[in-house]
Symmetry: D2
Subunit: 259 residues, 4 copies
């Protein structure tokens, strides 16, 4: 059944691949861009995907924001975990519908949202954040993307310990992941996954050593590069610039000794 846009819905106004705007549909409100304004009220009752025209007669498309769109819009502040890395973190951690996940730090909630999106409706994310100034932003972001009910944000230092146990995956994106490894081991199920994202080599080395010393196996570190292709008949070529580095992703699984 086709979905129509309702008052209060989020819409991603698409102008071009590099120009999209995440807006909430409200009555008596316009959204202004350098290509003219759009009466947001006019969107009500339209189907997602609808083409519309701004006051300057420029075409926009009213898209339903996907999880990737929410993530991109949240990244403005910390600029660290890119969708490509989130995609690998989710896939390699085995997180999916029903998973119980511990995550730190919350930051602006980009990775948190992705994890919440994939664990719903039965799973849950426990997200630790020691910097209290981030918690409000993250909460607002999670609420906006409709995922708040799947997440507990905890204003605690995960380096001091993890409250939960029998967890499926622990996902770390913080400055000192190696200080969390022994706590993560305690919190995880046998065979559970640990994933850590770090920008520097030194963080990776310390974390991998901690993993090896704390009973983890299947330890692996990768980096992921994504390059865009400009596609046009007779002129196809890779784009000129690319992101050369976001961070390294380390994976491991908990092994246990049975008695």
């Amino acid at each position: 059944m086709a979905q129509t846009i309702r008052e209060g819905d989020d819409v991603l106004l698409y102008l071009s691949r590099k120009r999209t705007f995440l807006v909430k549909v409200e009555r008596n409100k316009s959204f202004h861009t350098h290509k003219g304004y759009v009466h947001l009220e006019d969107l009500i009752g339209k189907n997602y995907g609808a083409r519309l025209r701004s006051s300057m007669d420029t075409e926009f498309v009213a898209l339903k924001p996907a999880i990737r769109d929410y993530i991109f819009k949240m990244l403005r502040k910390t600029q660290i975990t890119y969708p490509k890395d989130i995609a690998l973190i989710v896939m390699f951690s085995g997180v999916g519908p029903g998973s119980l996940v511990v995550e730190a730090g919350t930051g602006t909630g980009a990775l948190t949202s992705a994890l919440a999106f994939y664990v719903k409706p039965k799973g849950h994310v426990y997200s630790y954040e020691v910097r209290s100034e981030f918690i409000e932003t993250a909460s607002k972001n999670l609420k906006r993307s409709g995922l708040a009910e799947y997440v507990d944000i905890k204003n605690q230092d995960i380096c001091q310990g993890i409250d939960e146990s029998e967890i499926d995956a622990v996902i770390l994106d913080l400055a000192t992941p190696w200080l969390v490894i022994s706590h993560a081991y305690s919190a995880l199920k046998g065979g559970g996954a640990l994933v850590s994202f770090s920008p520097t080599i030194d963080q990776v080395v310390k974390t991998v050593e901690a993993l090896q010393e704390n009973g983890f196996v299947d330890v692996e570190t990768v980096e992921c590069l994504v390059r865009r292709l400009q596609v046009a008949r007779g002129k196809t070529r890779p784009e000129t610039l690319m992101t050369a580095h976001t961070g390294y992703i380390s994976f491991a699984r908990k092994a246990i000794v049975e008695h």
Copy 2:
């Protein structure tokens, strides 16, 4: 609550990062490797993650297979869609719990399994495969990974048309994706996602042109490179060899004209 291994369960016997074995736990059966054999019966009642010793006193770890493990084990035959690509396809398509997805071709079911894993419990995957010799393998693979109930495999040529409508995402990994684009447009919801995976530039150009001519917007093509890091204090360095190319991933979203 800890999960114990039961008769009939799949276990991933982990020897090293490059040596893992997917086995079904049965009574009166041994699993033989170049590092000795393991009595599978002995696994029953153990927790996942348990370390055990083979007849040659080599340590194995009994892991619960994650979706990534099933995918790796299924890839033996077609060797085309790598987990890194599957991860990006899933994230960029917006597929998640509850999504309705059309996919082609099924192949050995690797991408199919990943899609089924993420859409469960309420979503569904309709997977088209014209080569009947693949259908049995894919069915067996889906059954093994416990995901068969979320998938309909259809022995039909998707280039001839798509039966479903109001679909959230169409995912293509076949030789002539450009022949499917107009059918995909009809099958998708407004704003719905199309993702196509192709190894050659020529396929990409034809597909992107078909997308642009058939009412899709937000068209983007990327390639993804993953490089492993060998981590060891004082000797850390990237691995010597890597996969230089699997394929290009093209994304687009359906725009519609409202009347």
Copy 3:
């Protein structure tokens, strides 16, 4: 024997890796930067490598410009052939002291200068350029880098033919390299090298086909990516951005039929 800086010499004033200035040493002249000015006359009699201080007490280093520095400074206009590509073109073409080289197009003379630098003192470069507006700039650049005597710039369209024969290497960086291949074949010695640099896939395909149809063997196409590492104890990591694409480099060698 140490080299001292003389009036009329070029000096590369180094402020930081991203801030260098190519200046000619003249009396009664200052060079102004956002970090203060330097009396160029003061450089006379100093050794290359000398540290000096600007009027704002910022340290500069007076370096002798290397061929790479000249190339970087020349690239401002066409921005196409990067030093990494020039390095591969030179190495893979076999060009060295004494080589006879045909090149097109001259452009601002960056690649021309590199070729001239390596063929001297006995070799020679014949550089074709159809766009007369480039010839003055290229001549000035070659003169400045002291390499003008090793180069003939010819205001001719290489697609119409090559005057020279028994050439060691033909190097192409122009829009339609495939139109030059048969002329290049005639101009080259048996076993001589052809190298072509092109930004788009379509140019590469046409050029490689022309090479295969015109008696060349050992045809190979590569692309080269260079990524910088930020090195600092405990914080080492690749740089955030990189050039994702400049162009593809195709190599081939002329085979002949003996009678």
Copy 4:
């Protein structure tokens, strides 16, 4: 003037891009391959580039070995410095005709040969090698490529000091480059270049720190990735496998304090 093949010359017998053979032309001698044998005497008097047929009627091409060919053939033993890296080392070091270069370690002489090739006819390479077992191989390789007269191989430990002074460039490819930095500083001209090639991050960090502490400026570290493109109309795509890592290349220039 066309070059004909003479007795005693080296010829690169080309069968395919992956199958080439470096042979010395001798009378009464055959060269055997899995595609039949070639009478080497038959090559005498032919032009370079000549196509010929083996006893199994397979076509070979008799190419004049370029410096890159000698390098590839020498690399069999140490497998470390690839042509792409040699190309960047040469370009970024500023080494060219007439340069005076110090290098260590010699190894099998691959990088040494490249340096000798570019400095001739007036320049010279002083190559240090502490492992005496390599010296004979390197000497033989240099003699074969006709470059021996431009090189002094010295069976000395460069970590103990460098005999030469007023050198244009010092090129290091050895396990502990940081131990050579202060000696290199003494040996170099003002503004002279230092280039170091190392496979591990740890070597890079130590070397860069030594460069910064010993009066070098313009310090930069890069890695270079080369990917092949399979070119065929309608089927063009990057190759499946590539070398993911050979080593990092660090560059720097000597700054001096004038009194």
